[in-house]
C-alpha cells in the first residue's frame, strides 16, 4: 500500500502521495464514485483490486465489490451492472484477459462504457510475469478505446478521462487502460491526487438515457439481428470510434483547465523533438530508458534525436501521428509486442505507423524494433543500438527484409 509521505494541500485541486500505478487507479475509482467492480486474481493488474479492497474496508469508498469465479464472470458482471446504469470498473492481465475475451468482445458490441485496466503481461506459455502488450492489443479491432499510461500520475488521470470519454453519449464505448506490468503497476511515484470537488467538475454523472435497462424503460437489448441489421450496427460503432477523437480532445482540454496537467496533445507526448532529425516512437513505460538514452547520446555524441510517445492506440490518432512523424528523417518504432508472420515481421505498432504514413507525399524511413518482451529491461546499450540503427536507416535507407530488428535477444 501507499506510504503516505505527505498529505498537505498542495493546491485547491489536489494533494500528493506516494503511490504505485495500481494504487493510483484505486484512487481514481474512489474519486469517480464507481458503483460496481469485479475482481479476480492474476498478477500484475490485481494490485489495483487489492488497493481498492483496502479503501472499501476502511470506509473510504462505497462500491459493490464482487469477487468473481473467473475473468469471464468478472467482465460479464460489470457489463450487466453497467446496463442498469452503474459506473463500473474491472481489469485483468495476460491470459486472464484472454479468459474474459468473449465478454470483452460483447461489451464493445453492446456499446457499454465499461472501464478496465489491462496490467500488461506476457501471455503463457511459457509462463512469464513481465510486460508485453499483446494482451491489450488483442482487442484492438473490437471497439475498445486503448490508452497507455507512462506514470502512476498518468494512470490516475487516464482513468478519470476513461469514464468521461467512454460514457460520453457520442462515444459510449468501453476503455481499457494499458499499464505496463511491474514497471508501472508496482512501482511507486509521487502522485497528485485531485480533490473530490475538482473531479466532480470534470466528470459528469453517468447517464445511459434511453438505453437504461429498467422496468420503466422496457427495452430489448441485443436481440438477434442477423444479416438484416448487423452491418448498420457495426457502422454505428465505427462512427462512435471516429467521434472519440474529438471527445478525447475536448476532455483533455477540460482536464488541463481544471488540473493543469496532461501536456500539449491528448494523443502524443513529444520529448526533445524540436530539433530532432530522428525519433523513436513507442507506448507505455519504455519511454523512460529511451529518455535517458536521448539525454546521454545528445550529450556524448551530439545526436539530434527525440522520442514521441503514443498515448492512445485506439482510436488511432492518424492525423496527429502523420503530422508529427512527417517532420523527421527516420522513425524507429519500438514494439513491446509481436505479430508473428505480419508484413516485414514487424510488431503491431510498427505496421500501424507504416500504414498511417503510407499515403503521405513526404514520409520518414521507418525501422521496427521488437524489444523488452516478457518484461525484459530495455538497457542503455539496447537503447543506443535502437538509435544507431534508426540513424543508419535515415542515412542509407533500408532494404525490405531488413527493417525489423529484435533487440537484446540471444541468437
Amino acid at each position: 500500500m501507499a506510504v503516505e509521505v505527505k498529505t498537505k494541500e498542495t493546491s485547491e485541486v489536489e494533494t500528493e502521495q506516494l503511490a504505485t500505478g495500481c494504487e493510483a487507479i484505486a484512487e481514481a475509482i474512489r474519486l469517480a464514485d464507481v458503483d460496481v467492480m469485479a475482481a479476480y486474481p492474476i498478477r500484475p493488474y490485481d494490485g489495483v483490486m487489492q488497493a481498492a479492497a483496502k479503501l472499501i474496508a476502511n470506509g473510504k469508498m462505497d462500491v459493490e465489490y464482487i469477487v468473481a469465479d473467473g475473468e469471464h464472470s468478472q467482465f460479464e458482471i460489470v457489463k450487466h451492472a453497467c446496463a442498469v446504469g452503474s459506473r463500473v470498473f474491472v481489469g485483468s492481465s495476460g491470459v486472464g484477459w484472454f479468459y474474459a475475451f468473449e465478454a470483452i468482445a460483447v461489451t464493445a458490441g453492446l456499446r457499454l462504457p465499461v472501464v478496465a485496466i489491462c496490467g500488461n503481461r506476457a501471455l503463457d506459455d511459457p509462463g512469464a510475469f513481465g510486460t508485453e502488450h499483446n494482451d491489450s492489443l488483442a482487442v484492438r479491432d473490437l471497439g475498445w478505446l486503448l490508452p497507455w499510461a507512462e506514470t502512476a500520475q498518468e494512470a490516475l488521470d487516464l482513468a478519470l478521462m476513461a469514464w468521461r470519454v467512454g460514457e460520453d453519449k457520442r462515444v459510449s464505448l468501453p476503455v481499457a487502460i494499458g499499464l505496463d506490468g511491474a514497471f508501472l503497476t508496482h512501482s511507486q511515484h509521487i502522485v497528485k491526487i485531485p480533490t473530490q470537488a475538482a473531479v466532480d467538475r470534470f466528470l459528469p454523472k453517468f447517464d445511459l438515457g434511453d438505453r437504461l435497462l429498467h422496468p420503466d424503460n422496457p427495452i430489448t437489448i441485443a436481440p438477434q439481428v442477423d444479416q438484416d441489421w448487423l452491418m448498420e450496427i457495426r457502422r454505428q460503432n465505427d462512427a462512435a470510434m471516429r467521434s472519440a477523437l474529438d471527445v478525447i480532445t475536448e476532455a483533455h482540454a477540460d482536464f488541463k483547465k481544471i488540473f493543469g496537467r496532461g501536456g500539449d496533445s491528448p494523443f502524443l507526448d513529444e520529448y526533445m523533438t524540436e530539433d530532432a532529425e530522428v525519433v523513436v516512437i513507442g507506448q507505455g513505460t519504455l519511454s523512460l530508458p529511451m529518455k535517458v538514452a536521448i539525454r546521454r547520446l545528445r550529450k556524448e555524441r551530439g545526436l539530434k534525436i527525440g522520442l514521441v510517445r503514443l498515448k492512445w492506440f485506439r482510436p488511432f490518432p492518424t492525423a496527429d501521428v502523420v503530422k508529427s512523424l512527417s517532420r523527421f528523417k527516420a522513425v524507429g518504432v519500438i514494439d513491446r509486442d509481436y505479430s508473428f508472420g505480419s508484413p516485414y515481421y514487424g510488431g503491431v505498432l510498427y505496421n500501424e505507423i507504416r500504414s498511417a504514413l503510407y499515403s503521405q507525399p513526404k514520409r520518414p524511413t521507418i525501422v521496427g524494433f521488437i524489444a523488452g518482451l516478457g518484461g525484459r529491461e530495455i538497457e542503455q546499450p539496447m537503447a543506443t543500438e535502437i538509435f544507431e540503427k534508426t540513424i543508419a536507416a535515415s542515412e542509407g535507407g533500408v532494404a525490405a527484409g531488413d527493417v525489423c530488428h529484435w533487440i537484446g535477444v540471444r541468437e
Binding site: 458503483d35 450487466h80 446504469g85
Partner: protein, 354 residues
C-alpha cells in the same frame, strides 16, 4: 450506506388455474417451434414474476429463435447475455440495482431479476458462474435453467443433460455403435441444492405442471437472495415426437420418476406434485418404457438399453438419500434417521387448503 432493499415484489402463491394472472408479458413475435415447451416456460416465468422484472437471456433457443430484432416477444425489459454467463448476468444486474438504490441514484423499489439459460449454457458451460452466484446471498436474483436436453438451437447436439443413449447429431446411432452417448444425466438442481446452503430456494419443475412451476418462480423471487429453478422442457425437434404431445411427455417424465419435481426451501426439501405422491406410495411409478417409446431419439433402444435406463431410474427411488434429489446410498442402519420430512405438504395441496 446500509439501506435495506426489500427482497422482491409481493408475489402470493397461485391457488389454481383461475388465479393465474391474465396479463401476458411474453407475447407473439417469437419463432420457436410448434409445441416448444421452453417458450411456455418463458411465458409462465414472466406471468409469475409480473411486470417489474428484468430478464437476462443467455444464448440458446430462447435467444436465437425467441428474440429477434423488431419482433421481440418480451414486454418486460430484456437483455442478451453470453452462453455461459447467466449466473454472472443475474449477479451483475442485481448488484447494479442494489448499489444504485443504496446510493439514491435509482428509486428504491422491488425489481425482480431473472436470468435464464438452456441446459448447454447452464449445466455445461455456465455451471461455475451459477454456482458462484448462488453463494452471493446479498443479491436478489433467480437463475432459471430451461432444459430441453440438448443444444437444440445449434442442431441438437448432446449436452450433459441429454439422457442416456439418446440420439443427437453428436451421438447418432450407427452400424458399429448403437449407443454413442452413454453418460447419465447430470443432477443439476440436486447438486446446486447440496452445494449452496445459503441459497434460500432451489427447485425442479416442469411446464406441464404450470401452476406448480409458476408458484416455484414466485417463491424463489419472494424469498430473495440468489435462487435457482430447473425445468424439464419436452422438445419436439430434439426428442423427435409430434408437437401435440409436449404436455403429455412432460407428465410422463414426472410419472415415470425420471424427472422428480421438488423444491428445497431454506434447506428443507419438499417433493411436489405426482413426485410426492409416488414417494408416499399413493401413486404407482410408471415404467420408463412408457416415456421412451414415445420419442424417436430412443427408437434404436433394444431391451437391454431400456432395462439399464429403468435400473438407473429405480436406483434414484430406492437407493438415493432423498428420492430423485440427493444421490447417496446410505447404510441400512442409517435409513431411519435420514428420511425426508413427510409432514410438509406438497405445494399444490397447501394451495388447496389455504
Amino acid at each position: 450506506m446500509t439501506t435495506e432493499i426489500a427482497p422482491a415484489q409481493d408475489l402470493p402463491q397461485i391457488k389454481g388455474v383461475k388465479d393465474v394472472p391474465y396479463e401476458e408479458l411474453f407475447v407473439s413475435g417469437h419463432r420457436t417451434c410448434q409445441g416448444c415447451e421452453s417458450a411456455l416456460v418463458m411465458r409462465h416465468m414472466v406471468k409469475a414474476s409480473g411486470p417489474r422484472t428484468i430478464v437476462l437471456g443467455s444464448t440458446g433457443c430462447m435467444y436465437v429463435a425467441n428474440t429477434t430484432y423488431y419482433t421481440t416477444p418480451w414486454v418486460v425489459p430484456w437483455m442478451h447475455t453470453q452462453l455461459g454467463a447467466a449466473g454472472s448476468a443475474a449477479l451483475g444486474t442485481a448488484a447494479g440495482l442494489k448499489v444504485l438504490m443504496r446510493k439514491g441514484k435509482l428509486k428504491n423499489e422491488k425489481i425482480n431479476v431473472i436470468a435464464f439459460c438452456g441446459d448447454g449454457g447452464g449445466a455445461d458451460m455456465g455451471i461455475g458462474a451459477i454456482s458462484a452466484t448462488l453463494t452471493h446471498k446479498e443479491y436478489n436474483c433467480l437463475v432459471l435453467l430451461y432444459d430441453n436436453e440438448s443444444y437444440a438451437n445449434t442442431d441438437i447436439q448432446l449436452s450433459s443433460q441429454t439422457p442416456y443413449g439418446a440420439v443427437t447429431t453428436f451421438s447418432p446411432t450407427g452400424t458399429s455403435k448403437r449407443l454413442m452417448h452413454t453418460r447419465w444425466k447430470k443432477n443439476v438442481p440436486g447438486m446446486l441444492a447440496a452445494g449452496h446452503p445459503e441459497s434460500r430456494y432451489i427447485a425442479a419443475g416442469c411446464a406441464a405442471y404450470a401452476v406448480d412451476l409458476m408458484n416455484k418462480i414466485r417463491k424463489a423471487l419472494e424469498l430473495g437472495g440468489p435462487t435457482f429453478v430447473h425445468t424439464l422442457d419436452p422438445c419436439p425437434k430434439g426428442w423427435d415426437y409430434h408437437p401435440q404431445y409436449s404436455q403429455e411427455l412432460g407428465h410422463l417424465a414426472v410419472e415415470c420418476g425420471i424427472w422428480p419435481l421438488y423444491e428445497v426451501v431454506d434447506g428443507v426439501c419438499n417433493l411436489t406434485g405426482p413426485t410426492r405422491q409416488i414417494a408416499e406410495g399413493r401413486k404407482k411409478r410408471k415404467p420408463v418404457f412408457e416415456y421412451l417409446k414415445r420419442q424417436g431419439r430412443f427408437a434404436h433402444f433394444i431391451d437391454e438399453d431400456v432395462e439399464h435406463f429403468q435400473a438407473q431410474v429405480d436406483k434414484m427411488w430406492t437407493d438415493w438419500l432423498i428420492p430423485g434429489v440427493i444421490p447417496f446410498t446410505v447404510p441400512a442402519k442409517d435409513q431411519a434417521i435420514l428420511k425426508i420430512d413427510k409432514k410438509t405438504k406438497p405445494l399444490h395441496e397447501e394451495a388447496k387448503t389455504a
